[in-house]
């Protein structure tokens, strides 16, 4: 018989997992269900299938047959990418061993460890990955609603909304007024609204509509890469963009989608040619319904492994989780997904596991070949994802550096979509 000390030694060395727990688990093929086929869910599913080489049954539940990436959807708005270039199918994931179920997940039964699908059938799981992304809190902007998104698009979930925003942008006359209501923290893609403003300004400038005006009504006092964006706006789009913090506008009091007006504490904007309302956000409904979210609307996780703090059989990855110091980004989701996939393989097949490590970079295009980036490395610190080291582009960088950064941005996109969708 082993002494306690010998046991501790073996456990620390990791050898015990392979010797003891694998036979006990090998009786039935373990099942993992992944809810949500975005950068988070796609990456977990792909890495589990690829690295377990068939030892785990991996099912990806995603109602859509194609995924339009939010990342680089601003480049579509700016005319730098086509819709086709930011749209990806799931066929390669299927070919790499992921079982695809193109239905909505209706509910999670954590007691019975099963997911109920829209058609009433159920999928049992040994481990569940919940990656539904965000839902919008439409009523966080008074007068805004789901129906109103056709008149005043948010375009914060890519696809038809993005197309609608672009169509409305193309129809803005020279001298037209564009108003963006920016979201409060925390939200998907912190530099996203400001990259969008840049791309809207670029599209207008290229169309010769430099008399158009873009007003940003922001509930925040400051925003991601603020100095870099504001420097770029002055350089490329002088006089076109007006960013207003809360002490200047005193809050959005109401929007009237039919009349096309937005009222703040200090001003009423009428005859708006394009209103882009980006409301407050929360974890996708299925996560909230399964009591995986806390009072913030997002889901607490353990940074050691991306497990839900509410259920050790459930992992929350991507925009739905509370990622500590990480932003809600596709890069972050992809990074978190790899930690979750590694942990799941360790638990279900006895695969080797390593300490969690996370990284992120967000590139933002301000004007053609003028791109900036922010990013960092993160580790588990007392259960939260904590920043270890960070970097950000500098104001006044050379044209060559910014061009190089844009080349990275384009290269990263190709890399990450290959990593997520196969």
């Amino acid at each position: 018989m082993l002494t306690r000390r010998e046991f501790a030694k073996l456990t620390a060395a990791g050898t015990f997992t392979a010797v003891v727990s694998r036979p006990a688990l090998a009786q039935a093929k373990p099942k993992v269900v992944v809810v949500g086929g975005g950068p988070a869910g796609g990456t977990v599913a792909r890495y589990l299938a690829k690295d377990s080489a068939g030892a785990i049954e991996v099912t990806l539940v995603e109602p859509q047959k194609e995924f339009v990436t939010c990342f680089h959807s601003n480049l579509y708005v700016g005319g730098f990418k086509t819709m086709q270039q930011i749209t990806h199918g799931y066929e390669k994931l299927g070919a790499q061993g992921v079982k695809l179920v193109h239905q909505a997940a209706a509910a999670i039964d954590r007691e019975r460890r099963q997911v109920r699908l829209a058609d009433g059938s159920t999928l049992p799981y040994d481990r569940l990955v919940v990656a539904p992304g965000i839902d919008l809190k439409y009523d966080s902007v008074p007068g805004y609603s789901r129906e109103a998104e056709e008149l005043m698009p948010h375009a914060w979930k890519a696809g038809p909304q993005t197309k609608l925003l672009k169509a409305k942008l193309d129809a803005v006359p020279d001298g037209g007024l564009i108003v963006m209501v920016a979201p409060p923290n925390p939200f998907r893609c912190p530099p996203g609204p400001y990259e969008r403003v840049s791309m809207v300004a670029h599209a207008l400038k290229r169309a010769g509509k430099t008399k158009a005006k873009i007003v940003v009504i922001d509930p925040k006092d400051k925003f991601s890469k603020q100095g870099l964006f504001q420097e770029g706006w002055e350089k490329h789009y002088p006089g076109m963009i007006e960013w207003l913090p809360p002490n200047v506008h005193d809050g959005v009091k109401s929007v009237d989608p039919k009349a096309g007006t937005i009222v703040t504490g200090f001003e009423t904007y009428k005859d708006i040619a394009l209103a882009n309302i980006i409301p407050a956000q929360m974890a996708g409904k299925i996560a909230r319904d399964a009591a995986l979210a806390n009072e913030t609307g997002f889901c607490p996780i353990d940074a050691a492994n991306m497990k839900s703090k509410a259920d050790a059989n459930v992992f929350i990855v991507g925009d739905a989780c509370i990622p500590g110091d990480m932003p809600k980004s596709a890069f972050a989701a992809n990074s978190q997904a790899k930690v979750a996939a590694m942990t799941i393989r360790g638990e279900l097949t006895g695969a080797r596991t390593f300490p969690a490590r996370y990284s992120n970079t967000c590139w933002s295009l301000i004007a053609p070949d003028d791109t900036v980036k922010v990013g960092g490395r993160y580790e588990n610190k007392d259960g939260a994802i904590a920043s270890v080291e960070g970097f950000i582009s500098q104001t006044g960088e050379t044209v060559a550096v910014r061009k190089q950064t844009q080349e990275e941005n384009i290269g990263w996109y190709d890399g990450i979509v290959a990593d997520v969708f196969g």
């Binding site: 015990f16 384009i410 196969g422």
Partner: protein
């Protein structure tokens, strides 16, 4: 803690306590670390805007990562990534990415070519 309790918690304990028996040039460890790299540097070796890093000789791989680690080369993304890597981790990555060379070739040789 009683012995039985210790054993029943075994699977969990094994996950919480990470494998620490890694050694220089450990390909499996390198593969895990590499998951951070392949978000940008494609595992297939394709490169648009971000250089391919598969199949590099280990010595060259170690030298390049160290040049970012010591901030001799100036890309901040790579400085941040490399800055926190230990020598063992850099060697594990070098071993893994060198090992990918033959895999890429194997995949290319198959008819029809299969994704790697």
């Amino acid at each position: 803690m009683g012995w039985r309790l210790a054993l029943s918690g075994l699977a969990l304990a094994a996950v919480i306590a990470p494998a620490t028996t890694t050694h220089a040039g450990d390909v499996a460890f390198g593969e895990y670390l590499a998951s951070e790299c392949v978000t940008c540097h494609q595992r297939s070796g394709q490169a648009h805007g971000i250089p391919a890093i598969v199949g590099w000789p280990q010595d060259q791989f170690v030298a390049v990562l160290n040049s970012y680690k010591w901030k001799e080369r100036d890309n901040p993304v790579m400085q941040t990534i490399a800055g926190k890597l230990t020598d063992d981790e850099i060697e594990a990555l070098a071993a893994y990415f060198e090992s990918l060379d033959s895999n890429v070739k194997k995949c290319a040789d198959q008819k029809p070519p299969t994704p790697c």
